[in-house]
Symmetry: C2
Subunit: 240 residues, 2 copies
Amino acid sequence: MMTEKPIRAVLFDVFGTVVDYRESIIREGHKWNKQKGVTIDWPSLADDWRGACQPTIDRMLNGEKEWKPFDALHREELNRLSSRYDLSCFSEDELRVLNDVWQRLEPWGDSVTGLERLKSQFIIAPLSNGNVSLLTHMAKHAGLPWDLILSPEFIKSYKPDPAVFQMAYHYLGLDPDEIVMAAAHPSDLQAAAEQGMKTAYICRPLEHGMNQITETVTPEDDCDYMARDIVDLANQLIDS
Amino acid sequence: MMTEKPIRAVLFDVFGTVVDYRESIIREGHKWNKQKGVTIDWPSLADDWRGACQPTIDRMLNGEKEWKPFDALHREELNRLSSRYDLSCFSEDELRVLNDVWQRLEPWGDSVTGLERLKSQFIIAPLSNGNVSLLTHMAKHAGLPWDLILSPEFIKSYKPDPAVFQMAYHYLGLDPDEIVMAAAHPSDLQAAAEQGMKTAYICRPLEHGMNQITETVTPEDDCDYMARDIVDLANQLIDS
């Protein structure tokens, strides 16, 4: 009988899994509306802004577009949304502040407690498409107690490039099956599983708002752990 | 009059500056002596082991030797010391455990308190020659509350290569003069200053033991901050 290797590290997708980007953007957006006396549709802008990223990442991964860090990508997409949402009332300095909202995202209610529990026993790190400074500032703002930041910026790539997952276990000096990848998105989990990592699905039914019709995990997805939230994941991993 | 930019990040040399490698190795070594009934001279071994690293790094930096991560370098130097210190009583598994002592180094008494204070206001990270997994495990063991790990492993180089310091401010998204490099070694401070970083000398009179005759900082070295220890540095930076 094979004995299972103990888990040594838990890596996290961040946007949607650890932080609630949609509500955070809407909340800051409403302040801008009040301050400027405008009526920008922030829920829709947040969805479009986030939604534009993955297709652009795909174009970078297949070589159609030169790699750039995630905060520059956010800025590029924001510029593209400028006319649709009439952002002309924003000065250049204000657009910079607005773009940095990604550094000020709020964690889900369970995230900090869950990460702190996991940190007591495992190495914890983001494995997010965010660049290093974005993830660092976000962690300071949200109180995310990472042991280290792992970012595809180190190899100028993006998830789901297999090299990103390989980079993670290489730098950690661990075998892939000593690592759990935790995410609210089956695509991350599938890519991690293909590299031999264990997988944990974190349920985030409100990531896309109240009317969410989103990717769901079915038993066929065959996750190693299914968790209601990060505290639940900590309970499962620390008991196991 | 130029207004000074506020400090955003404080980076640390680690071996000697944050952790007391010499005493940590001696302490573990004495346990090995007892366990194995041998009389290995651990103070001398610790000095030789540490002392062998920089010349080998220099050979890697000038292209005479292929780059390898710091823990592999430690292991190579340990093998070289094996006959001088009669380490033949160690099995292969025991040598691996012994080499991992660098992951179990103890912090100086002020390090954790000082780093926690600095973390409340600044980004804090090691900028050490240690590889990522070595620095990560050390931080877990010693309770060093880094915001992120910065390692020359990301660019397969070593300090004092200027590219290592450039990498740090690039990934942090900061200008060099928004960063303080803190070290007990003038060589680190000089290399950081050449890249435009601010510098803080941390006094570690016992790094090399009781009879230390070591590099000292004179007023000509022109550090921005001179600190008795990391708590003193925190007091100076947080007051400033």
